[in-house]
Each structure stands twice: as structure tokens, then as C-alpha cells.
Amino acid sequence: MHDQLISRFLCGERAAFAELVEHYQRPVIAYFGRLGLSAAEADELAQEAFIRVWTNADRFDPGRASLATWLFSIVHHLAVNALNRADRRYCLPLDAAGEAIDDSPGPEVATQLAERKRILRNALRQLPTVDRSVLALSYFRELDLAAIARIEGCSEAAVKQRLYRARIALRRLLENRHD
């Protein structure tokens, strides 16, 4: 992100903040999606995260961390709380609620896509929370290994290990699903 935009946001400029939300909404929502949350939950949590970013802007120290790292620390915190509150994955509805509004492709493609999403989501929900979170963070290009380690509060080596474990487990789950 541009430093100028960040400092405008830190000075309390709403337009700058809107640009930041515009820029980060996709990665944040995608992160919640990869955690296996529903669209409604993701939307609610993402809103909450951005509102916290705005109200707690004075706690952000550009000298200490990048904005992405700080934002995702907040996002991660909210996500972990939400997952704990939902009493692990089993209480989450294992359906495809709210995801099929993808209206661009043709109907049968859409059904196929929705089916794949359902399979993937169910597989993700079976991963341990920490592994799932590392995996979900790893897809966002602005976060490197060190940043993920900070967000997760563990070492870089632990991040690598969790990532590896998550990929193996996910592949196995998806392959079993296919058969």
C-alpha cells in the first residue's frame, strides 16, 4: 500500500479509508472464506474488522508493522473468536448457504462450481483451526512468512510446518472425497 494513503488514513481521512477498504475487502473476505465460514459470517466479521481498524487507528504504528500485518492481526483475532464461539466446525451448517449468487457463468457451470465450493469448504472445516488459518493467510501475497508468523504468534518454522501439514491433510481429504 502507498505510504501516503496510509498516512492520510491515519490522519482521519474517510476517503483514504474507503480506498483501503476497497483494496483489502477481497483478501479479507477470501480469508474468512478459506476458513470455511459462510458468506454472511464473513461479511459480518469483515465489517467488524474494518470498523476496528478505523476506530483503533491510533494503535497502529507504521514503524512496527505493515498495515496488512496489522489488519490481518485484527482479522485473525476476530476469526479465531468466531470459530471458538461456533464450538468448532461441527456446529456450522455444512451446506452451501449464500454462495450460489455467483451469477456470471451459465447455470450448469454454476452448479458445478457451487458443488466444488461445498466439497472444498467441508474439507477445510475438517482441518485443525491453526493449520487452516495459516493456509488461509498464505494465499494473500502482501503477507510474507514473517508477517504470518507475527499474526499467528508463532515462529516462522512453525508456520512452514503448519502450512505443509495443512496442504497434505487437505489433499488427502479432497482425494477421499472424490472417490
Binding site: D58, D61, P62, G63, R64, A65, S66
Partner: protein, 298 residues
């Protein structure tokens, strides 16, 4: 620490190093550098150099302490500049888990309220202490207005030097223990001290001849030599054996000194140090006596 925009990181780091050498490095996330800087400042500079100062030849006390002061201030300034530069070059240094206000407060209190004061009292009590002399009772060896270093590693178990005859001793005044006196040790425990007129004998050995017309007499004992000034006193009659655990002290300015002739022998345990070297001297009028700076005391 949430004053990021009021204080840029490099300002904060420099300020913290100003408060404690190495503190800014701690804020920059460099604990190892912080510890070494603090250790260098706290240990190598003052205690080590004053330890050296009392073991080097007497005239080296002043240069050794001046260089220790320079080293201390140098390390301190380096710590400030280094903290500033480091924070400027790495503005995005990640914050470590231990970098919290509580840790900073604990470090500050431990170092500034515990370690440094303990070191100061150790150095001043056991190595080198500075004394201002507001009386002329030790003239001409020590003049009124002299400020001198005393070797405080003296007269204690494990200390380098025991009390000897002829030492210029710093001791607690027996009749008012809030005061400190400086006088010359003449008699050790068990010595027989006799004063007749303007001559002093210790164990039947005369310290010097009868004074010349101006009242001064060169005195010596155990290889030490000094000038006693009897002025135009009447002299006194005194003959005693110094009790065990006590020492007999006299001021060199015999005509103008309140010493063992008046308050008796001094407990040996109250002798804390011996004068070594004058590092500053100001005449009563306020003029600096440059020629006395660095003068060793014999």
C-alpha cells in the same frame, strides 16, 4: 507504546537511550546490543577505571578517572546516536512479544534505581571517593579548598592497604559521627606517642628535629616524609600508649589543627580511606590554583 506519531521511532529510541544507555536499542528490538551497551557503560567505565585508578601509581589517579569519565560519556553518546540511526534505517522493525511497556518499566527501574545506585555506593565506599577539604589543618600537604581523591580500598578485610604510620587518613570524627576528618596517622595501636614542646616521638623515635625559625619541621617515619608546621604554638606535653584498636592522628598544621591531642585516639574501624591526589583546588578568594591539580599527597 502508542505515541508513534507524536514521537517518530528514532526520536523515541534516542530519548530512551538518553535515559539509559542501551534502552533505545531495546526499543529497536536489539536486546543483545542493549545489554552490551549498558554493561559497557555501567561496568567498564566507572568501577573498572576507578579500580585501576587506585592501583596505578598515585599520580595516575586523575588521568585514569578522566579517561573513565570520557569513556562513560562516549558510550552514552554512542548509544543515543546508534539508537537514532538504527531506528531510522529500520522503521518497520517488527515488534517482539517482550516489547511491552511493563518490560520497559521493569528494565528502567532495575537499572536506574537498583544497579546504578548500588554500583555508585560500591565505588564510593570501596574504591575511590572524592573529598572537599574546607580546613587548613593539614597544610602544607593539603590546602584549604583542595578537592582530592581518596583510596577507599583501605583498612578492611580484603582491602589492598592497611593503615600505616604517615598515611593521610580520612575517618569519622569520634565526637560527631556525621563529620569526616582528614589527618595524618602518627601512632598505630600499641605505639607509645610522646609530644614535648614542638617535637614528636613514636616508640622513642623522634619524627624530626626541632622546628626552624619559621615553625616548620621536616618529619619522617617508616620511609614517609612530610612537613609539619608548628607555627607559633606553645607546643604541648603528652605521653600515651595508643590503645588497642585505636590510632593516633595529628594534623600537619600543628598550630591550627584539632586532632588526637584534643579528641584522643580514633577507633581504627572508623578510618575509611587515605588521601591520594588533588584533582581540583580553589583558593578562598575563588581563584583556581592550577599548580595543585594532579598533585600527589605524601
Amino acid at each position: 507504546m502508542r505515541y508513534g506519531r507524536i514521537f517518530p521511532a528514532h526520536w523515541r529510541a534516542a530519548l530512551m537511550s538518553m535515559v539509559l544507555p542501551g534502552f533505545g536499542q531495546l526499543a529497536n528490538g536489539r536486546p543483545n546490543r542493549a545489554i552490551w551497551l549498558f554493561l559497557a557503560f555501567a561496568l567498564i567505565s566507572v568501577p573498572l577505571m576507578s579500580w585501576l585508578a587506585i592501583r596505578l601509581p598515585q599520580a595516575m589517579t586523575l588521568p585514569a578517572l578522566v579517561s573513565s569519565l570520557a569513556a562513560a560519556l562516549g558510550i552514552w553518546s554512542y548509544s543515543i546516536v546508534d539508537a537514532w540511526r538504527d531506528a531510522r534505517h529500520r522503521p518497520r522493525a517488527p515488534r517482539q512479544v517482550w516489547q511491552t511497556g511493563g518490560v520497559y518499566a521493569l528494565v528502567f527501574l532495575t537499572c536506574n534505581a537498583l544497579i546504578l545506585p548500588v554500583l555508585v555506593s560500591y565505588v564510593r565506599g570501596h574504591q575511590v571517593a572524592s573529598w572537599r577539604i574546607p580546613s587548613s589543618s593539614m597544610a602544607p600537604a593539603i590546602l584549604r579548598g583542595d578537592v582530592l581523591f581518596a583510596d577507599m580500598s583501605y583498612n578492611c578485610p580484603g582491602c589492598d592497604h592497611a593503615v600505616e604510620r604517615g598515611d593521610v587518613a580520612i575517618f569519622t570524627y569520634p565526637n560527631d559521627r556525621t563529620l569526616v576528618y582528614v589527618k595524618r596517622v602518627i601512632g598505630l595501636p600499641g605505639d607509645r606517642v610522646r609530644i614535648t614542646g614542638k617535637r614528636v616521638w613514636v616508640n622513642r623515635l623522634a619524627l624530626g628535629d626541632a622546628p626552624a625559625d619559621d615553625g616548620t619541621a621536616s618529619e619522617r617515619i617508616d620511609g614517609r616524609q612530610w612537613l609539619a608546621d608548628w607555627g607559633d604554638t606553645e607546643g604541648a606535653e603528652l605521653d600515651l600508649t595508643v590503645p588497642p584498636g585505636m590510632v593516633f592522628v595529628l594534623g600537619d598544621n600543628r598550630g591550627n589543627s584539632k586532632d588526637s591531642r584534643h579528641f584522643g585516639s580514633v577507633p581504627l574501624r572508623d578510618v575509611a580511606g587515605r588521601a591520594r591526589q588533588v584533582w581540583f583546588s580553589m583558593a578562598p578568594g575563588g581563584a583556581v590554583r592550577w599548580s595543585r591539580l594532579g598533585q600527589a599527597i605524601h
